[in-house]
């Protein structure tokens, strides 16, 4: 059996479950005669989404660009701060509590404030997405850098590797697996936080579109928006996972756990 058949076999159970779920949903709505504004059947959602496709595409594009910008900015900030906190122990002990504190601010509360401070443009939304993405990346980066193998650290010091060499040669490559875990978490948060940002204050994007649709009782379009958000999330996650696979080729391959 080659690996391709194995992959298809792994894919089969979730696809079957998903299909069964949609069928059940369709049947329940049809048989009970539930009205479409309350709970539309999957076929209604597909049909309405198809007829609204130009608008959906436009809003999806807006959400995607906000997500990508926010993710990139937040990840970059997290990476940088993680490295700085690692290299400067005094700064680390001072700022770490503040870092954790920043994550306890509810996004839903800070969002309107950001709009008040920075207006309805791109900036407040971008800041919100960055704020959400920044933390998991920073914590993963810091943890990964601090977790360098002590034996390797001692070896590198014994042969005379300076601080910068140890950072680039040992600590940074060693931090990559953990860093990618952080990036994956940030990637999956980024889309939903972009949607929340658009919900709070925007004139475009899927968040705005879903808000509008729900106020107009176009429930099927709300569901279409949800489906698109989920797809965007999965795509971004898959992209990061793919980058991880390419970067960490040196890692021992795990036995196929089936």
């Amino acid at each position: 059996m080659d690996s391709r058949t194995i992959r298809w076999r792994a894919l089969l159970p979730p696809v079957v479950v998903m299909a069964a779920f949609l069928l059940l949903w369709e049947a329940a709505v049809r048989l009970s005669g539930t009205e479409a504004w309350l709970l539309p059947a999957p076929s209604d959602i597909a049909r309405d989404a198809w007829s609204a496709r130009p608008r959906l595409a436009q809003h999806t594009g807006a959400t995607l660009s906000l997500t990508l910008l926010g993710f990139a900015g937040g990840a970059a900030a997290g990476l940088l701060l993680g490295a700085v906190l690692h290299l400067l122990p005094l700064v680390r002990s001072g700022f770490y509590p503040l870092l954790v504190l920043s994550q306890n601010i509810p996004v839903i509360a800070i969002g309107p404030l950001l709009v008040i401070w920075f207006g309805f443009g791109l900036l407040p939304k971008l800041l919100l997405v960055m704020l959400v993405c920044f933390f998991p990346v920073c914590v993963a980066m810091l943890g990964g850098l601090q977790g360098a193998d002590p034996g390797l650290e001692r070896y590198m010091r014994m042969i005379g590797a300076g601080r910068w060499r140890r950072f680039l040669g040992l600590e940074l490559p060693g931090a990559l697996p953990q860093l990618f875990s952080g990036l994956k978490i940030a990637a999956s948060y980024s889309v939903t936080s972009a949607v929340v940002a658009e919900w709070i204050g925007s004139d475009r994007g899927l968040g705005y579109f879903m808000l509008l649709s729900s106020k107009g009782f176009k429930t099927s379009l709300v569901f279409a928006g949800v489906a698109l958000v989920v797809m965007l999330s999965l795509m971004l996650f898959a992209a990061v996972a793919g980058a991880e696979k390419l970067t960490l080729r040196w890692r021992p391959r795990k036995e196929d756990g089936r």
């Binding site: 034996g151 390797l152 001692r154 070896y155 590198m156 010091r157 014994m158 042969i159 005379g160 590797a161 060499r165 040669g169 040992l170 490559p173 060693g174 990559l176 960490l248 040196w250 890692r251 021992p252």
Partner: protein
């Protein structure tokens, strides 16, 4: 001229009532092309001694002379082979060797040439592009030894290099090291727990006392080189072994609280 000369080295850790003297005036020398072993009860400060020689820590008092001159500040004074192979998992065998040579000050082309040459000479060229995790423990230690051998420093510090290997692999590695060293004749300070290993490999064996450590016995190993791996069956080998065990035994008993 001695490659390494240590005079009256003292080192304590902790402070106040918790102050523990680890080294209590250690004196030793390693001559040009000499193989010197250091044996001692566990906790006799062998690792501390290596840290001081390597430049990771500073002695409280005493002198470390390398090639007749006081040792410079900082680490990187000696080639080093630790108990765990300390190979970076994301670098190939050749990449690991190259990195060590680069840290020791070789340029890129030179490091590559030396690494290739060394791997060929030791018959390891088939592993040059492998990652460390696919190698057995013994093979990893061969690479680790080669890496130390290629380093330009005249002194090699070997810190229980075979301590983590199983008995059979250990014996094979001792023979391998013996024949290799007899060709190369580098100056070696070899830390070990095994008296047989020390007798088989060394020109001189030094016995350290428990902490605070001092050199309590020095034994010139009388066997001619090149040595055979069958040396263990020589009756004189047995006598020397017994006598060293006695020295060590009396030290261990001295540790016992009354």
């Amino acid at each position: 001229m001695n490659v390494l000369e240590i005079r009256n080295l003292r080192k304590s850790f902790g402070s106040g009532g918790r102050r523990v003297e680890v080294l209590g005036g250690v004196c030793l020398t390693v001559g040009e092309g000499e193989f010197v072993s250091l044996v001692g009860p566990s906790g006799s400060g062998k690792t501390t001694l290596l840290s001081l020689i390597g430049g990771l820590e500073r002695p409280d008092s005493g002198e470390i002379m390398l090639a007749g001159k006081p040792a410079s500040e900082g680490a990187g004074r000696a080639a080093y082979m630790p108990q765990q192979a300390a190979l970076l998992p994301w670098r190939t065998v050749r990449g690991n060797i190259e990195l060590a040579l680069r840290i020791a000050g070789r340029d890129r082309a030179e490091a590559k040439r030396l690494a290739d040459e060394g791997l060929r000479r030791l018959g390891l060229e088939a592993y040059a592009r492998s990652y460390p995790h696919v190698l057995s423990g013994g093979m990893q230690q061969r690479v680790s030894f080669l890496r130390a051998l290629l380093s330009p420093q005249p002194l090699m510090l070997l810190d229980e290099p075979f301590g983590a290997l199983d008995a059979l692999t250990r014996q094979r590695m001792q023979r391998w090291l013996l024949s290799l060293w007899e060709e190369e004749r580098r100056s070696v300070l070899f830390v070990t727990h095994s008296i047989e290993e020390a007798l088989l490999l060394s020109d001189r064996v030094l016995v350290l006392s428990a902490s605070p450590a001092v050199v309590v016995r020095e034994l010139q190993v009388p066997f001619a080189r090149p040595r055979s791996a069958m040396l263990g069956s020589d009756p004189r080998f047995g006598e020397l072994k017994e006598s060293l065990y006695e020295s060590l035994g009396s030290l261990e008993e001295g540790d016992m609280p009354l």
